[in-house]
Symmetry: C2
Subunit: 295 residues, 2 copies
């Protein structure tokens, strides 16, 4: 079994850092040129001068909590998107906050997380994340399709039909929340549906109780989790090592003192701030509102 | 505005018929070679001999009502599919009946119907067909994406959020059932949401009342319908001419006396029987159970 999704994962950490920093000026320039919102927010920033974490840390943090207001002032994306005509989809989260999906393979970059969770070409996966309004279903579906898996887009609810589908199709994989995995497995037991084909589960969007992971492992289902957002796509994911989460290769993550833009020392808990290299939706120092620490 | 989706639509009818008949032997041979179900059903058929409607009419009709039983005997598709590993998705309809979706652009061929309904690159369309279990959402989404439209996958329900999304995003197009279009437009009026951006609607899956079409036209929304199925994808669609429906280019349609395989004369009502040229799911004389007539 191959160990890495691609060679990016096996890079020397210093090499990775050097290449991410080298990519910053181009991405900031792209955002300022194509996205009027970033042109305003970064008006005083010379892209060529942002080539290190220290210089990046001087840029303002734009918070997820600002999006609804920015978007009300300028539909649909508050001027933070760099493309519009090329978009494939637009999603709607409560607020409302509108989120773009571009075109092309694995736009949300979730294939990497699914690979780490053991997903391989030919796996048949039920995708129980919702597809309506929210991007969750599409985010994971596009990654699974890019990996060569076949997806059964079941969405949420209808637990009995989920268990029957798993058993009938002898699905090998599950995508969804941990709590819904628990419900489906319990329902299958209740219905005496044979779901021994189910070997791997990629979960997210909520807390994964260690007891649930252990109980699933006992019946042969390996459960790994990932962390993604409707704005950024994949941010981090677990691998077999199960030692915290591994950062996605295509973004710069900072942990800042909440409410500020000031990075905290490694190991200290703070707000997750991400700079993405997505060409359609280039988010520069985007404050997720989530708390974490770099270990 | 271009009149045709592609040059196939402008072919001379005799040329179309000649090419469809010429393609039959290859498709039947493919189905027999790759799909064990068709190898059984068409065991006595020499593909090379099926080159006309008369010879096609001697093949057995396989009915949609047979699928659940065939599939219970052989998961997932009763041996009627010619590919498995290459599939992108599997859907579940009540029965249960499992339906495959292959990979590649516009697999369900719905772009042609959307084009006829006035959809063009750059249109922003809310797709209110469901994405969960059923293929309807994916069927129309893939066609809209292939056309270069941007899709808001809203799914069914949440009428108030649908109206607000239409108004906020100034969507130009609607995809879904006629009755849900009516609900959304009424809800928008009730909320005083400005949905004057909405200019076109592609509807299906249920009867379109002429009064609804007329009422929509009065407020500037052009409504056209299409006829598709979860097994075959697009079968027929309306164009501006509004004189019945136009057959999709990629299938052979027969109208047979219900319960038999015998074609009825043109103009007589009977069961719709379709032979598809889909390489992943080659359905040979598939009885839809729907009634229609060739005019």
């Amino acid at each position: 079994m191959p160990q890495y999704y691609d060679s990016l994962e096996a890079r020397d950490p210093e090499e990775r850092e050097r290449l991410l920093m080298a990519a910053l000026p181009g991405q900031i320039a792209h955002a300022k040129r194509k996205a009027p919102g970033w042109a305003r927010i970064l008006a005083d920033v010379d892209p060529a001068g942002v080539t290190s974490r220290a210089t990046l840390a001087k840029l303002p943090v734009t918070r997820k909590s600002d999006l609804a207001k920015l978007q009300r002032a300028e539909r649909p994306f508050g001027g933070l998107n760099a493309t519009l005509a090329q978009l494939g989809k637009v999603f709607v989260s409560p607020g409302p906050i509108y989120e773009p999906e571009g075109r092309g393979r694995d736009w949300w970059r979730t294939a990497r997380a699914l690979f780490a969770a053991g997903f391989r070409p030919g796996d048949l996966a039920i995708n129980t994340f919702a597809y309506h309004f929210t991007p969750a279903g599409s985010m994971l579906e596009s990654g699974a399709l890019a990996l060569g898996c076949t997806v059964v887009p079941t969405g949420t609810g209808q637990t009995e039909m989920q268990a029957a589908t798993l058993a009938d199709l002898q699905a090998s994989a599950y995508i969804g929340t941990p709590s819904f995995l628990k419900l489906i497995v319990e329902k299958a037991d209740e219905l005496k549906a044979d779901i021994r084909s189910l070997k791997k589960a990629a979960v997210g969007a909520e807390y994964l109780p260690p007891a649930l992971r252990a109980a699933c492992a006992q019946r042969g289902i390996r459960v790994l989790q990932s962390y993604a957002s409707a704005d950024l796509g994949l941010i981090a994911y677990e691998s077999d090592a199960l030692e915290g989460m591994i950062l996605d290769e295509a973004l710069i993550l900072e942990i800042v003192r909440p409410g500020t833009g000031d990075p905290v020392p490694d190991g200290e808990i703070g707000e997750v701030v991400v700079t993405s290299f997505n060409p359609d939706y280039p988010l520069m120092r985007f404050g997720t509102g989530d708390l974490s620490a770099i270990l």
